[in-house]
């Protein structure tokens, strides 16, 4: 049975497909800002600290996604305050939070009976196990991201582009920086179910980085990154179904291959343009 046929038959595949699309929206919208502001390391710290919250939620018997959301927001704010006040120690402190979050998560999971299956699916994702209630949560989170970005697009733009000028225009720079990190946290939670937290960074950065090579405004980049994310997650799902290989890893590698192709293509295009420009000026010199 090929993928399209299976998609008609199996509800779990339809849910997986939908989860991929919803994740693509989040990674397109927020990944663009992560790439442009160059804070994928910060996003990585947030993603890994989330495991602590998920472990705690499991241990205390809450829904893991609620724990993940709380842990993500707390670690985003913590990392934000660190990067604002201890700039010179930023990388050390973020690495520490990165590791501490995971350590806490693993301890809690070890103390909870029957944890093994869950740990692997948090680390690497399990898109085939997405429930319909989880899909609803993803829809709500996507909507929250879209509304906040729509309302504050201009403010985020000026804060990310030129902090000093933003301050002079009376835009609360710290508030918007922390808000952006919280949005990244929400996106990480969105993506965890699809690719797992180890692979989250790939989906958060690669589609936006690919888009950035072809379009040159933030709004176009967000749209293009979303579309690329949709292509990557859908083709990844299809390929992993056909080959019976883990979906999260396949999705990540497809994104990586596309990024590589786009980078090589852009480098080639730039080189040709340079050569053409050099030739043109050579002709002009010859004429004069």
């Amino acid at each position: 049975m090929d993928f399209i046929e299976a998609l008609m038959h199996y509800e779990f595949l339809q849910r997986a497909l939908l989860a991929g699309l919803l994740a693509a929206v989040g990674c397109g919208l927020i990944g663009t800002w992560v790439v442009v502001k160059r804070i994928s390391f910060v996003a990585g710290g947030i993603a890994h600290a989330v495991l602590g919250g998920m472990g705690a939620a499991l241990f205390f018997g809450f829904a893991p996604i609620a724990g993940a959301l709380i842990a993500a927001i707390v670690s985003a704010l913590l990392i934000g305050v660190i990067s604002l006040h201890w700039k010179e120690r930023e990388d050390t402190l973020i690495s520490a939070i990165w590791a501490i979050g995971m350590a806490i998560g693993i301890l809690f999971m070890a103390a909870t009976p029957g944890y093994q299956v869950d740990l692997i699916s948090y680390l690497f994702g399990n898109i085939l196990m997405v429930s319909s209630s989880h899909l609803w949560i993803m829809i709500v989170l996507d909507l929250i991201l879209a509304v906040i970005l729509f309302v504050f697009h201009r403010q985020f733009e000026i804060v990310i582009f030129d902090e000093e000028f933003a301050l002079l225009r009376g835009v609360p720079v710290t508030f918007f920086y922390l808000l952006l990190l919280c949005l990244i946290a929400v996106t990480v939670v969105l993506l965890i179910q699809v690719v797992g937290l180890i692979l989250v960074i790939a989906l958060l950065t690669l589609p936006a980085a690919i888009a950035g090579q072809f379009v040159h405004t933030l709004s176009k980049m967000m749209i293009a990154a979303t579309l690329i994310g949709i292509v990557v997650s859908t083709s990844g799902l299809a390929l992993s179904y056909e080959t019976d290989l883990p979906t999260g890893a396949i999705i990540t590698l497809i994104a990586a291959v596309l990024y590589l192709c786009a980078s090589v293509g852009t480098a080639y295009r730039n080189r040709r343009r340079k050569l053409q420009a050099a030739n043109m000026s050579g002709v002009n010199h010859g004429a004069s």
């Binding site: 201009r154 403010q155 030129d162 000093e164 225009r169 009376g170 835009v171 609360p172 040159h216 405004t217």
Partner: protein, 240 residues
């Protein structure tokens, strides 16, 4: 309202234990075109940041446009030292200029803001570039775009920090011609390390070297410059 655009009295500032500005006093009336010059590390950028309310002076008094600097800064068009941001940032010229229309926490751009931005781009002769991304601009074009953004704030005073440090001399004079024209309707303060060049344009020069401020409306002599820089620099001699 005070008739001084900037009124600085006995102002000092230090980074930790290192004094940067000591007992600086400077009065700039409305409508002036003032050049702030001095050697690198002389505290020029620090002074600008204090006037903008981005840094707090450790002692002394300061009024900008008759107000506390934090309250005055929305009436100031600021052109930062180039380049203060990533050149490959995905943003068009028009979007960058429109940033001057933002005000506070809320709001987006309306037709009225776009008109003002367009007017500012026309004035600095960059309206033809408005759809271009900033990465494709030359140094001189980008500088004009930054001036347009400052004008879009509808400022009463323009403050420029080394506006021509990365562009060639011909473009530099074009920028200063533009500033001279803008000076007909607003106060202009320009920071530069190049006293020889700017003294041909500005009405007054304030020389800043940490502890010392001399400001003069008279001809600047070679002796003054030797005192300030500790050595001979390009000679300045021109009548006012």
């Amino acid at each position: 309202m005070s008739d001084l655009a900037v009124d600085i009295h006995d102002l000092s500032f230090s980074y930790g234990q290192v004094p940067v500005l000591e007992h600086v006093s400077l009065q700039i009336p409305h409508g002036e075109f003032v050049g702030v010059v001095g050697p690198n590390g002389g505290g020029k950028s620090t002074l600008i940041r204090i006037i903008l309310g981005l840094l707090q002076a450790s002692s002394g008094t300061l009024r900008v446009l008759g107000k506390h600097p934090r309250k005055a800064r929305r009436n100031i068009g600021y052109v930062p030292q180039y380049p203060a941001f990533e050149r490959d940032f995905p943003i068009t010229v028009e979007q960058l200029v429109l940033m001057g229309r933002l005000n506070g926490m809320w709001g987006s751009y309306h037709a009225h803001d776009r008109d003002i931005a367009l007017q500012a781009m026309r004035e600095t002769e960059v309206s033809a570039l408005k759809g271009r991304t900033i990465g494709t601009l030359s140094g001189g074009q980008l500088q004009r775009v930054l001036v347009a953004r400052a004008l879009a704030c509808e400022p009463r005073m323009l403050l420029l920090d080394e506006p021509t440090s990365n562009i060639d001399q011909r473009v530099e004079s074009e920028i200063f011609d533009l500033l001279k024209q803008l000076n007909e309707r607003m106060t202009v303060i320009v920071v530069s390390h190049d006293i020889a060049f700017i003294s041909a344009y500005v009405k007054r020069v304030a020389c800043l070297s940490g502890t010392l401020v001399c400001h003069t409306t008279d001809v600047i002599s070679g002796d003054d410059i030797r005192d300030l820089y500790g050595e001979d620099v390009r000679q300045v001699h021109h009548g006012h």
